[in-house]
Symmetry: C2
Subunit: 307 residues, 2 copies
């Protein structure tokens, strides 16, 4: 079998509503009237962005999930994706698994593959997701205002613990591992927040690092009440409160949303937890036991997540 | 200097007309009313898609040029790009050169960088270009009809000869090397052809290979009159007629356009040369000295140019 045929077999799939998909020099799609285009892109390098020993299916899932998380943080509806896949060899079993992980998630969010490039080299996966939102209904980092209320979705720290070497014999540890391997992008929540939240970002580098981006972009500071941080029972059981708190503040890979709402926002949204307040004073302070601690807005980060 | 700051220094530039550019979770852009979005993507791997010894500036130029060539083949106007750059290290001199090559070309075509990702790993460059065209004015591979006239732009075979080991002491050889290193995307020609040509493709894999794609997509065949093939004086001087013909038919990397026009098309376009005819009979035949030869539609091709 020619390598081209092999690759086409895996990635040529029906793309409903796409004017011109894979198979020409480029793809052509139409945006809904009155909508703007949203573009996100993320690269995963084996051994850098994920452990070498995770399955091909997990790699395929992850390559799309991290991009859908960015789409969610923009408040957009995902629609199309392209795939630039660099592989050491055209291994059918690996491609099977990769495609299952990628398209399993893509189908759940109605995302069609419309183009790509497959090249030989060290395993590197770049997925770009294109989405859209009604013109003007943007969810950006720079809109937080003093007095806004700070929220996060889901629970924090699970993925960082799941990436670390926790004892996989226990159900709780397996649950954390799953949170690392299969982050669930908050696309629906992002759509709910568009036009309501004043700012949003996805937590890929850790809460403090990503909240720091929001604060700098908005020209504000924040107080985080550590006792309010949503910690899962599995995380507390596996690593105890002190370490759970460290993972929640500094650990990356959660792909939850961190967002700010005006104090009078009337949003009944069970997915999110209030964790603090936006302040006019710059910097991030932790509030615990009635005492403030100034913290550096750092967190786990790679060589570069965005130029 | 933090590696993040370094990278931002190179890739954060003014992006006129872009609603939201680099610096948020994603970019937001608006399409001109009545236009569709065109998406192309290509990955370059060092040592696979270009020799290891070409300059960083040449790599930056090439990464965009190959994508603009696809945009040209779609008849679209390029507008935005994203860059996924995987680098062994954040080397300032290399980034300087790369950015100069990339943005030098981008500025000429009015293309703004709106997003990207920079990661550590073996040198791999994925550029995606987004463009647009008036809805319905598509230039695809599948529209060639029996009786259409076959054209190519520019001259063929120069890049393949320039990639091969030709004696760089001669001016003609340096000219071929330049054709390989600095392919000029035919964006203006593509815009002229949209709505006029029945089919178009860019010649990245070699004339016969890419014409083969057009024939299969259109359900037709073609006759190529080899004596009509546009060969440069530099190519003929360096390698002689027989080898020049082989390069012109099979050599890749020219990034010229191969296109078909209806027989009654009235197009006064000095950039293109008539080289043959589209036939109802499938397959590609060469016509030379009044004799036909059936040929295989092969050419230089990598592991995969498009999934």
């Amino acid at each position: 079998v020619d390598e081209f045929d092999l690759i086409q077999r895996y990635f040529r799939r029906p793309a409903p509503g796409v004017a011109v998909g894979i198979g020409d020099d480029g793809a052509i799609v139409g945006l809904p009237p009155g909508h703007e285009l949203v573009v996100v892109v993320d690269t995963l390098v084996a051994g850098v962005h994920f452990p070498d020993d995770i399955t091909a299916e997990d790699v395929g899932y992850r390559a799309l999930a991290v991009n859908l998380s960015d789409i969610a943080a923009m408040g957009a509806e995902p629609a199309w994706m392209t795939l630039a896949l660099t592989l050491p060899e055209a291994d059918a079993a690996w491609l099977d698994g990769f495609a299952a992980g990628l398209f399993g998630l893509a189908d759940r969010y109605g995302v069609s593959l419309i183009g790509g490039d497959t090249t030989r080299g060290p395993l590197t996966v770049t997925v770009e997701v294109l989405g859209h939102l009604p013109a003007g209904l943007r969810l950006l980092r720079g809109g937080a205002r003093a007095g806004d209320v700070l929220f996060v979705s889901g629970t924090l720290g699970d993925a960082a613990a799941g990436l670390a070497d926790v004892d996989a014999k226990h159900a709780a540890a397996r649950q954390l591992r799953h949170r690392f391997l299969r982050p669930e992008p908050r696309v629906g929540l992002g759509l709910t927040l568009a036009g309501r939240a004043t700012a949003a970002i996805d937590i890929s580098d850790g809460l403090l690092a990503d909240l720091g981006h929001v604060c700098r972009a908005s020209g504000v500071g924040a107080v985080v009440e550590t006792e309010r941080l949503p910690l899962s029972a599995a995380l507390l059981e596996c690593v105890g409160f002190e370490q759970a708190l460290r993972y929640a503040l500094h650990g990356g890979d959660d792909y939850e949303l961190c967002l700010t709402l005006p104090p009078d926002a009337d949003l009944d949204e069970p997915e999110i937890t209030r964790i603090g307040t936006i302040t006019a004073e710059p910097g991030i302070r932790l509030l615990a036991d009635g005492r403030f601690t100034e913290v550096a807005a750092d967190g786990y980060r790679h060589f570069g997540d965005a130029p």
